[in-house]
Subunit: 340 residues, 2 copies
C-alpha cells in the first residue's frame, strides 16, 4: 500500500503531466505543489513508485510519466469527479433541453456537447433497438409499388424504411398488413420480427407470399443496420502534442475510420456505468496508446445509446468523467419527464 505522501506525489505527477505533457521532475513538484519535504525525498518516493509500476521514465535524466497502471490507480482511487464549472453545467443543460423528435437525436446532442466541453473526440451510437417493444407499426402506400413501413417503439425510437415491389400493391393489402402486423406484434420486442413471424404472416396471407418476404427482410435490415456511428471533433486531436508524431495521428484516424471497431468498443460497454479503458487495457492492440471512456444511458432495461470519448492515455480523466456524470444525470432527468 502507498503511504499518504506517495499518493499525493503520484496524484501531483499525474495531474501535472496531464496539464503539461512533459515528464515531471522532482523540482517542479516541489515548486507547484505544497509538499513539505525536499526534492531528494520526492526522488526517493518517485523511485519507489516507479518500482511498483505506477510511473515510467523516458530515460535516466528525464522526469517521470505515469504508466497505464498509474492512471488506473489514479482513476480508481484518487480522481475527483466534480471537475466541472457552473458555466459548463449551464451550457450542457441548455444543449440537452433542445426539443427533439427522436431519442437518437438526443444521443447525438449529448455526444456533441461532450466533445465541445472536453475538447476530445467523441463517438456515439444510437440505441440497440432489438429489445425495444413495438408500440405501433404502420404501412403506408407511397406509390403503387412503393411501401413505407414505420415502427414506433416504447423507448421513443422510430424506424422507417421503404420497400419497393415489382408489382402493384393495393390499399386492401396494406390494410391487411397493418392489421396483421399490429395484432401480432404490438407490445413485442422488435427482434420478434423473425422467421417464425414471417411464416405466420405467410400463412395468414397465403395468396400474397411474394409481398411478405421483401417486407420482413427490409424491416430487419433497417433495424439491424441502422447503427450509424456519430463522430464529433476528430480534428481536435491535433491540439495534443502526442499527435505531433504523424504515425500516432494516422493510427488514430484509422481507428475512427474503422466503424466496426468503434461499434464494437461502444457495444461492449456495460450498462448504466462509466467505463474507462486505459492504454493497453483495451482489447485491441491498435488502441494501446489511447484511452477510451464510455457510458450508456438507459431507461429501465432499454438501451438508449452509448457515448464515448477517445483520446491519448494522457487524458484529463477527471474532467471527462465529471462532465459525463453530469450529462448522464441530466439525460435521466430529461427522459424522466416522460418525453417518450
Amino acid at each position: 500500500m502507498l503511504d499518504n505522501r506517495k499518493k499525493r506525489i503520484l496524484q501531483a505527477i499525474i495531474e501535472e503531466y496531464i496539464n503539461t505533457a512533459e515528464p515531471v521532475s522532482s523540482g517542479s513538484l516541489l515548486q507547484n505543489y505544497g509538499l513539505e519535504c525536499s526534492s531528494a525525498t520526492i526522488r526517493n518516493d518517485m523511485a519507489e513508485l516507479e518500482h511498483v509500476g505506477y510511473l515510467d521514465k523516458p530515460h535516466t535524466s528525464a522526469g517521470r510519466i505515469p504508466s497505464a497502471k498509474g492512471y488506473r490507480f489514479y482513476v480508481d482511487e484518487l480522481l475527483k469527479d466534480d471537475n466541472i464549472s457552473i458555466q459548463e453545467m449551464k451550457y450542457i443543460k441548455s444543449k440537452l433541453e433542445t426539443k427533439v423528435n427522436e431519442i437518437e437525436e438526443l444521443t447525438k446532442i449529448a455526444s456533441n456537447t461532450l466533445s465541445e466541453i472536453t475538447h476530445y473526440t467523441s463517438v456515439a451510437i444510437g440505441p440497440r433497438t432489438r429489445k425495444h417493444n413495438i408500440v405501433d407499426i404502420k404501412f403506408v402506400l407511397l406509390g403503387s409499388r412503393v411501401l413505407m413501413a414505420v415502427i414506433l417503439t416504447d423507448a421513443g425510437a422510430i424506424k422507417e424504411t421503404i420497400i419497393k415491389f415489382d408489382q402493384d400493391i393495393t390499399e386492401s393489402q396494406v390494410s391487411n398488413l397493418n392489421i396483421l402486423f399490429n395484432n401480432k406484434l404490438r407490445g413485442m420486442p422488435l427482434e420478434k420480427i423473425d422467421e417464425p413471424f414471417e411464416q405466420y404472416i405467410m400463412n395468414e396471407m397465403s395468396n400474397e407470399v411474394k409481398v411478405i418476404k421483401p417486407i420482413i427482410e427490409q424491416i430487419n435490415y433497417a433495424i439491424v443496420y441502422n447503427t450509424d456511428v456519430y463522430l464529433e471533433g476528430a480534428n481536435k486531436v491535433f491540439n495534443f502534442p502526442e499527435f505531433k508524431k504523424l504515425e500516432v495521428a494516422r493510427t488514430f484516424l484509422n481507428i475512427l475510420d474503422t466503424k466496426e471497431l468503434v461499434l464494437d468498443i461502444l457495444n461492449s460497454s456495460l450498462a448504466e456505468d462509466i467505463n474507462v479503458y486505459i492504454g493497453d487495457e483495451n482489447e485491441y492492440s491498435e488502441l494501446k496508446d489511447f484511452s477510451i471512456i464510455t457510458f450508456r444511458h438507459t431507461i429501465g432495461k432499454h438501451d438508449l445509446g452509448t457515448i464515448g470519448i477517445i483520446g491519448p492515455t494522457r487524458m484529463d480523466y477527471s474532467k471527462v468523467i465529471s462532465v459525463m456524470k453530469y450529462i448522464s444525470k441530466k439525460l435521466n432527468e430529461q427522459l424522466g419527464k416522460g418525453m417518450f
Copy 2:
C-alpha cells in the same frame, strides 16, 4: 503560345511530379521520357516555362514543380480522361448496380466508390430538392400527438419528418390535411410550401390554426436542413507526403469539419459538368494548398446530388476526372432506366 516541345516538357514535369512528389530535374526528364534533346535544352525550356508562370522552383538548386497556373494549363489542354482500367470500370459498375430505395443512397455509393478508386477524400451532398416537384404528400398519425409527414418527389427523393403536438390530433384532421395539401401542392415544387401557402391552409382550416404552423415549419426545416454532408476516406490524406507537415494535415481536417464550407463548395459547382478548382483558384483562402474536383448529376433540370474530391494540389487530375466521367456516365444510364 507554347511550342510542342515545351508542352511535352510541361506535361512530363507535371506527371512526374504527381507520381513522385519531388521537384523534377532536367536530368530525370531526359531519362524517363523520350525527349530528343539534351538536358541543357530542357533547362532552357524549363526556365522559359517558369518565366511564363507554369512552373515554380523551391530554391535555386532544386528541380521544378508545377504552379497552380501550370496545373490549370495541364487540366485544360494536356490532360487525358481515359485513365481508367477495365477492372476499375467493372468495379464501379457493380457498385452502382446496387438496388437502392432513394436517390440519395446512390449518391453516397458513388462518392464512396470514387474515394476507393482514387484514394482521395470524397465529399458528397444529396440533391437540392427545393425545385423537385411533389408527387405525393402524406400525413400519418403515429400516436395521438405525433404526426409524420412523408413527401415524395418526381426525382425519387423522399422527405420524411416527425411533428409533435401539445394537443391530440384526430384522424379527421389528418385526412383534411391530406386532402388540402395534395390538392394544392401536387405537381408543385417543394419550395411552394411557403408563407402564402401557410396562409391559404390557415384560411381553409381556420379553426385549427395552432396545428398548421408547426407542420409547415417542420416540413420546411426538413427540406432545407436535410443536407447531410457525406465524407469518405478522410484518413487517406496521410498517404500523401504533403500532409507530413502537421499544419497542412490540420488545416485539411479543419476544412472537412467545417460542414458549411464543404456545402458551399459543392453547392457552387455548376450543373452537369466537372469543375476543377486548383489551389488559390478556390474562393476560400484556407483551400489555397488544396484542389477540389466536383460534379453534379442531374435528370433533366433536377439536381440529384453533388460529389467532390478534395486533395493536395498535386492531385492526379487525370485519374480523378477519368473516374468521375465514367461514374457520371453510369449514373445516367442507371437513372435513365427509369428507376424513379
